[in-house]
Symmetry: C2
Subunit: 331 residues, 2 copies
């Protein structure tokens, strides 16, 4: 594996994004193609192949040493087999890493997007130089990844790091996952919007009514953030509740994992970019770790491109470590 | 380090227990001396020295290669320095490992009791042969330890594995640690008793009144267990609530850590010895890990002796691994 460039492929339910990524984690070039996630396995694979070919065709230096792929789980990162992602019904027990490796003749690694993004932040981003990293991406959902000693912590079956479904309110609202009071159902974008809408339906007056043109059903987390910045009382309450929930959740994670750093990405994390110190202050009552106040809580380097960078990191990290046994190699 | 025997020392607020431990984790011999936890550092150390000397004096084969010590935290397992345990005011920033090593001239390792017990279960007990182990001891408090790839996971500062203060009810009762709804305040022995007493004070009739001779203030978790076995409705409710809380908490841990096995020790875990399958069933709604149903939940091998065995495991594991750099060695 001598090339300096790798390709990172980010597979979603509606599109495949691929990028040419340097040894420093810079995304030099990108391609996007639509994903047919409900078709047969070959059609799904064809979208991936097309995105990679687009990159190779346009690359000035087509010396690519490996392809990293991030894909919705559940999947087995050790074998590169995609098990049964709810949003990608085209693949059931599909050997994605092997299939791509056979097409391009170079090593391929596969993992889920939050794990991959956690690794990209550790290799090249906000957690560069840190040993034990907890990463959370807070947006439509909450995905998390754990990097210990520079490697993704996969757990016994590859299912570790699902921190978004850790519950903090045993009597709270039910998450689509079936559990009550997951942090995802409370602090994701839709969770924030839902709590705001409930306050409006309780008859509270708020700038949110104006922002949603009187349709409280249309309130989004972005509107909550906007109303909060203008001093709106209801939006401020919702933001405070969210901060409290996030600090309580991070306190749990700190007490269990004692990380060197916490990196937060995603749209909701961005909403809270000026409030990270507030979260840190709230940690005082949210964990017993005596060093909690000193754990940096920082924003991720990668935003929309976290998937591409993360996918590239999967093969970069393997090239740099002895973990090549977990890499699917053909030819 | 050639000897087959090591000494494990379990330091508590009122006593020091030491044991001679074989390479198979058998406790061959024990000694107990009172601990003066409120005196000066030397007096505290003298109790430890006396317990170790008692063992050496009575040992048939006094070929002891190392001494492992478990001690209430916070402490730094890398340096063996005890920081400021609330129940051992004799030691403040005290280099316990160094002090013992200087006295006996053999290697000494120090860690907290739950971490040490987790390691003993992994080396010799219920988790023998498993890779990633989550251990919880549920009694007066709830202590936990994480073993990954055969080693205690210490985290960035040695403070990892404090799972007893993970919160599952952000609006729940306040724990002495200052956080609301920790699993410790809900499911420890005192937590169980408190919930039962509250039901009695609400005017509920129960066999618990008879067991406590009409003094509901005297109800203990043991009485709850006894009343439950005789079919008492109030006690059954308290047990069900506790099972629900424990399953929710373990679900969180499974989603974050995806362990190969969960080992539970301590008096309260024993109360639930016939209900572990019930906890496993409840995991269905308590985590997203698709393999959660297959994670064994088992009782610990070590009971009262978990501290001695755990302390011994600290030096056994180091003898068997390359982690000797973390061991305090003198002479």
């Amino acid at each position: 594996m001598s090339g300096k460039l790798v390709i990172g492929v980010d597979i979603g339910g509606t599109k495949v994004a691929a990028g040419l990524v340097s040894a420093q984690g810079e995304i030099l070039q990108q391609a996007r193609v639509p994903m047919v996630s409900t078709g047969d396995a070959a059609t799904g694979l064809a979208a991936v192949t097309r995105a990679v070919r687009d990159i190779l065709r346009n690359a000035r230096d087509p010396q690519v040493s490996a392809i990293g792929v991030c894909c919705p789980g559940p999947l087995d990162p050790k074998t590169g087999v995609v098990i049964n992602p709810p949003n990608l019904t085209c693949w059931r027990q599909f050997p994605l890493a092997d299939a791509i490796a056979q097409t391009f003749g170079i090593p391929v690694a596969v993992d889920n997007d939050a794990n991959a993004a956690a690794l990209a932040e550790t290799l090249w981003g906000a957690a560069s130089g840190y040993r034990h990293v907890f990463y959370g991406t807070i947006g439509t959902g909450i995905g998390t990844g754990i990097v210990l000693d520079g490697r993704i912590y996969e757990g016994a079956t590859g299912a570790a790091g699902e921190g978004g479904h850790m519950g903090i309110d045993i009597n709270g609202p039910t998450c689509p996952c079936g559990k009550r009071g997951c942090i995802e159902v409370l602090a994701s974008g839709p969770g924030i919007a839902k709590r705001a809408r409930k306050k409006l339906m309780d008859g509270r007056n708020s700038k949110l009514l104006e922002l949603s043109h009187g349709n409280s059903e249309d309130v989004t987390s972005e509107m909550v953030s906007q109303a909060y910045r203008s001093g709106d009382v209801v939006a401020t309450e919702v933001m405070q509740e969210t901060l409290r929930a996030l600090a309580y959740w991070l306190g749990n994670i700190i007490d269990l994992l004692d990380p060197d750093i916490i990196v937060l990405g995603g749209g909701v994390a961005n909403m809270f970019r000026d409030l990270l110190d507030d979260i840190r202050r709230r940690l005082r009552g949210a964990c017993v770790n005596p060093s909690a106040q000193h754990i940096p809580i920082v924003l991720a380097r990668y935003g929309e491109d976290a998937g591409i960078a993360g996918a590239a990191a999967l093969v970069r990290a393997q090239a740099a470590s002895s973990a090549v046994a977990t890499l699917t190699q053909t030819k």
